[in-house]
């Protein structure tokens, strides 16, 4: 397909890899964070990191929406799912995220009506097909996913649907990035910016990273050549002493985002005063809830949500992985007690999670290195 195949061209990949080698200064160590879990997945799936010189290190950021959901929010979701009249719907990966009291998949096995949907629109359709039931959608995701929930709610309101509710866990990307940049144990040279979040919000919201923190950002696409080119653009900025937001993904990302998407987001949602992030703690104004105009659809107002707070398992180091302080394989339980089949931490659940991506595609390379 056009715009996919040409960004997987191996020969061009080798050319870019050679440009990267020619750009780095020997003896200097470069630490670049890919913010988005989708990038992590591409890097491991296509072996992008194997093409980089040893002194260019990629650090995996907090941009996997499943990985940042704290256990207590999962437990709250399960509590809603156990209501007799409720059909509880969610995306596939959320079913396997462990809360303090099991997963949604286990709640389903125990009798709760939990169903996987591809989109919130599917959940709304389910509500219309089951007027005697109450359908709740477990909304997760960054600004890429939030418009889908918002547009679905707009439809639900226009059609007068009264048995559809949203358990809103949408988060925003800028506050956790700022929290990371404020973290004293993190030293980064630049950021590979999230491509599809930027399709919605644009590249402009990331300007604070060069202006306030002196780090370059390149908004990147998701194919292997996109990532190689973005890494090259970051290294060029560093080599030339420049520091700004650049947009590698111009074929999709407008600098100011998508105005229709931003309009529906501000109509349907408002910022929560604070929200707990797995591994990062509470971050102010970092998540969305339904605005007063849409509160009739708010599952947290409809049901008694217990507001559970659960500390992460002691053995689990998802927090450090999310902050890029340790590599997945440095976690004590990686690949032994914690695997994609039986995850302890969220980073092992979603294929976008750094641990799962590393487990599925990178661990053999690591084993070779160790040998």
């Amino acid at each position: 397909m056009k715009f996919v195949d040409e960004f997987r061209d191996a020969e061009l990949g080798r050319v870019l890899a050679a440009e990267i080698v020619a750009t780095v200064e020997p003896g200097r160590h470069y630490k670049l964070m890919e913010v988005c879990g989708g990038h992590t997945h591409t890097i491991y799936k296509y072996g992008v990191d194997d093409l980089l010189p040893e002194n260019v290190e990629l650090v995996h950021g907090p941009g996997c929406p499943v990985c940042v959901i704290p256990m207590g929010r999962v437990d709250d979701g399960i509590a809603v799912a156990r209501h007799e009249r409720v059909i509880f719907t969610c995306f596939g990966d959320m079913m396997r995220v462990p809360g303090g009291d099991g997963t949604l998949l286990e709640a389903k096995a125990a009798g709760a009506d939990v169903r996987m949907v591809y989109s919130p629109l599917d959940a709304l359709r389910l509500a219309k097909e089951n007027p005697d039931r109450e359908v709740v959608f477990f909304a997760v995701g960054f600004e890429t996913t939030a418009p889908s929930t918002a547009l679905t709610l707009r439809r639900a309101k226009a059609e007068g649907v009264r048995n559809f509710f949203v358990y809103c866990n949408h988060v925003t990307i800028v506050p956790p990035l700022r929290a990371l940049l404020e973290s004293p144990d993190l030293r980064l040279d630049g950021f590979i910016g999230p491509g599809h979040v930027s399709t919605v919000v644009g590249a402009r919201p990331f300007e604070f990273i060069p202006s306030d923190y002196g780090k370059p950002v390149v908004i990147s696409g998701f194919e292997p050549l996109d990532l190689l080119q973005s890494i090259y653009m970051l290294l060029r900025q560093l080599a030339e002493g420049r520091c700004r937001v650049e947009n590698q993904y111009t074929r999709v990302v407008p600098y100011d985002g998508n105005p229709q998407a931003l309009a529906v987001l501000s109509e349907v949602f408002e910022l929560r005063p604070h929200f707990e992030w797995r591994g990062l703690g509470f971050i102010s104004h970092s998540a969305l809830k339904l605005s007063p105009t849409y509160e009739q659809f708010d599952a947290e107002l409809r049901y008694a949500v217990p507001g559970v707070r659960v500390a992460d398992p002691k053995a689990c180091q998802c927090g450090e992985v999310l902050k890029g302080v340790i590599k997945p394989w440095e976690c004590k339980v990686f690949g032994t007690a914690c695997t994609p089949e039986r995850p302890i931490g969220t980073c092992m659940v979603s294929s976008e999670g750094a641990c799962a991506a590393y487990y599925n595609f990178g661990r053999f390379a690591r084993e070779r290195e160790v040998v």
Binding site: K2, P120, T199, E352
Partner: protein, 63 residues
């Protein structure tokens, strides 16, 4: 499209290119076997390629 296999495009920040097969009323389009909301990309026609995430077209893949 599903959440199975090695990749959950919905839970990630990814969007996949999909070709419009049929335009439907209410800012909807059938792409492959999936009904997609097209509110964010304006009017679409059969054959257009859209970047789809969680049931919504967030951009056009081809100008």
């Amino acid at each position: 499209m599903s959440c199975d296999g090695d990749h959950c495009v919905t839970c990630s920040d990814e969007a996949v290119p999909m070709r419009v097969a049929e335009v439907r009323a209410g800012a909807l389009a059938l792409c492959d076997d999936t009904e997609v909301m097209t509110d964010l990309v304006g009017a679409v026609e059969p054959g257009d390629v859209l970047l789809v995430h969680a049931g919504v077209a967030i951009a056009r893949a081809e100008a």
